[in-house]
């Protein structure tokens, strides 16, 4: 910010002009990002505005914009939340193994494999979900229905294809795993050596070391990692489109064919054939998704900002 780096006075060189140009380029790049973001907001608001004021009967489903929006928001939050519940503990475990348990060589190989998961396109995850994972989860869902059917989550009737919201959440969990793992690993690696050695000197076991030295230091990093993972899950489109059998209901039943859709998937499905006000409605749902994602990221950033010395979530 205002910290000026004082250096030995140098003989005047020609790099002055280069400095100016580079500074200008960097500032321009930064401004461009802001302009792009502002452009997206303006576009979404301008194009989405007619949906907010449209008569209820003109909106698809004839129950007004918020009647149209609500099941989508519900589905988006449900599937992302489930994915996060599954992915976060697993990610923390994997990250901890890499940073504190695994031998160095294994750790680097494992870290590389996890990063590789992030490089797989979501359409491939979708294909995997629909043709491999979903059919194999059907017996599990039948079992859940039989033994835990009294819970509203497993009320059934069981889907014959396994393309349920729980399957979609499993696929999403695999997709957000690399992000959360990578960020957690970075934070765990930044735990000051002195803290760890102090814990060991006090006779802590490896688990106690993790509990008293690693977790307290890395808590904000873990929270922000989970939040960034959530941001990814909220906006994921293709995999959800392919895996989820969405019919637009509001239901907490996780194992049936009848599921709520998500905002992103709904836009992808309905946009190609949309015309007139429907386009405005879809764009307005996009605006809502933008706001939700923005809020999630804002929370993540504010958690990170509370610890100024933390820099792992860059």
């Amino acid at each position: 910010m205002s910290s000026t780096v004082l250096r030995e006075p140098r003989p005047p060189t020609r790099s002055r002009a280069g400095d100016q140009v580079f500074r200008g380029l960097a500032a321009g790049a930064a401004a461009l990002i802001l302009a792009a973001l502002a452009g997206v907001v303006v576009f979404l608001t301008y194009q989405g505005a007619p949906a907010f004021t449209a008569p209820a009967t003109a909106v698809p489903g004839a129950s007004g914009f918020f009647g149209y929006l609500w099941p989508l928001v519900f589905g988006t939050l449900l599937v992302s939340g489930l994915a996060l519940v599954m992915a976060t503990p697993l990610s923390i475990g994997v990250a901890l193994f890499i940073s504190h348990y695994a031998p160095r060589r294994l750790a680097s190989v494992l870290g590389y494999m996890i990063d590789l998961l992030a490089a797989i396109p979501s359409v491939v995850y979708g294909l995997w979900g629909i043709s491999f994972l979903a059919p194999r989860l059907v017996p599990l869902y039948s079992w859940l229905d039989q033994h835990l059917g009294f819970l509203p989550f497993f009320a059934g009737p069981t889907s014959a294809t396994g393309r349920t919201i729980l399957t979609a959440a499993v696929v999403l969990a695999v997709m957000v795993l690399p992000i959360i793992t990578a960020l957690c690993r970075e934070t765990f690696l930044q735990v000051p050596r002195l803290h760890e050695e102090a814990a060991l000197a006090l006779g802590a076991t490896r688990w106690e070391l993790v509990r008293v030295a690693v977790f307290p230091f890395a808590r904000s990093g873990m929270v922000s990692a989970a939040m960034l993972g959530l941001g990814r899950a909220l906006g994921e489109t293709m995999a959800v489109v392919m895996v989820l059998s969405a019919t637009g209901v509001v239901s907490v039943n996780l194992i049936s064919s009848v599921n709520p859709s998500t905002i992103a998937a709904n836009i992808a499905l309905q946009f190609p054939e949309a015309a007139g006000l429907t386009v405005n409605v879809l764009i307005a749902t996009g605006l809502v998704l933008f706001v939700i994602t923005f809020a999630v990221n804002l929370v993540a950033r504010s958690v990170v900002a509370r610890r100024k010395d933390f820099s792992g979530a860059a």
Partner: protein, 378 residues
């Protein structure tokens, strides 16, 4: 460690830049492809013979026509080396919208122009639009029920299955349609399209006309009820039906693959979704009233009782102007459309996409409509 995180960040930044520049490059390519000048130096006159045309023809619309369009593009371009045909399968609705806005030379659409759209087209074109059926495809009711490889269904049963009222494969209604067959008690999972689709529109149109007691919803691009399983696109429905057990869905017959196709009761017979039976229904169908002679919009006769006719078909149209700015452009459109409806064009589509060739009578009528295309707009 800070070093690690920095290099990681740098790496991800590089990747971002890379992908950005890639997408920019792709965008540019797309733009330049779309902007390729559509004016041409052809001196082709009146006759629509293929050898004289050149230039670029841009179309957009129906995804159903995409596979057939590949075949049409390939043979038309090899017969006319100076011609480039671009077809953007963005969906029928988008295609019509782009055409009405004057963005493309022709549109492919699974539903014919509405009365309002005809008016808009007249404004854009400066003349009446030409609308010809180019792609007719039977929609099969596909199912996956181990041990059952022949299935007959009456329209009422189909409607009740998809409405979720018949839930088991050994329901008396299904047994009545299939006398003497042993059916398992597996639960039925009806699969429908989750995206807006001309296939859904035609299927629901069929149900609402033939089984209006059981199916009380109007024809719609979007599946009207919130039950059953949904899947994205024809391939999604086929995959869902294939990977489930006791599943039933509807899809373009050419995409059914190894899945069972139900025979549907028409009159007192059961009809298979063959291309011949699909073509036959065209002869039974009536033109939409109040249209110009160049507008061949037709309502499929779903309620036919004739044997050898399969009424669940999708008709996809190509929509062009009847006048274009330049003679060269008009000749190009005329030549392409003439090829598409010609016997070789229809057979190429049948081979590539499994569609049903249009009948000779329709071809004559379509050719007359196409012949009116001229350069009149100044």
């Amino acid at each position: 460690m800070t070093h690690t995180s920095q290099s990681r960040a740098a790496l991800s930044r590089t990747a971002l830049l890379g992908s950005l520049s890639l997408s920019v490059a792709l965008g540019l390519t797309a733009c330049s492809a779309a902007n390729e000048s559509s004016n041409s130096s052809s001196g082709g006159t009146g006759s629509a013979t293929a050898a004289q045309v050149s230039g670029t023809l841009n179309g957009a619309g129906s995804t159903a026509q995409e596979a057939a369009m590949e075949a049409w593009k390939a043979s038309f371009q090899s017969a006319n080396p100076n011609v480039t045909v671009n077809y953007d399968a963005v969906g029928s609705g988008s295609g019509r919208e782009q055409f009405l806005a004057g963005g493309v030379n022709f549109a492919g659409s699974d539903s014919y122009l509405s009365t309002d759209e005809v008016k808009a087209a007249k404004k854009t074109c400066g003349s009446s639009p030409v609308e010809v059926p180019v792609y007719v495809s039977p929609i099969a009711v596909i199912y996956n029920l181990p041990g059952v490889n022949k299935l007959q269904l009456s329209p009422a049963t189909v409607a009740n299955i998809f409405a979720g009222k018949i839930t088991s494969w050994n329901d008396p209604a299904i047994r009545a349609d299939n006398p003497g067959m042993s059916l398992p008690g597996t639960a039925i999972t009806p699969v429908h399209r989750s995206d807006d689709s001309g296939t859904t529109a035609n299927f629901t149109d069929y149900l609402s006309k033939v089984a209006h007691m059981e199916w009380t919803y109007p024809a719609d691009d979007t599946w009207p009820i919130k039950s059953g399983e949904s899947a994205d696109g024809t391939s999604g429905v086929v995959a869902a039906v294939k990977h489930g057990s006791g599943t039933i869905g509807y899809a373009d017959a050419s995409q059914a693959g190894s899945l069972g196709e139900a025979s549907i009761k028409v009159g007192s017979h059961y009809a298979k979704p063959t291309t011949a039976a699909a073509s036959a229904v065209l002869a039974e169908s009536k033109a939409v009233a109040g249209r110009q002679s160049t507008d061949m919009a037709m309502d499929v006769n779903r309620t036919t009782t004739k044997s050898g006719v399969y009424p669940i078909v999708l008709i996809s149209y190509q929509i062009t102007c009847s006048t274009y700015d330049s003679k060269a452009q008009a000749n190009l459109v005329k030549a392409f459309e003439s090829y598409v409806i010609s016997a070789p064009g229809q057979n190429a589509a049948a081979k590539q996409a499994g569609s049903a060739p249009i009948t000779a009578a329709l071809r004559t009528q379509a050719q007359q409509a196409i012949n009116t295309i001229s350069a009149g707009r100044q």
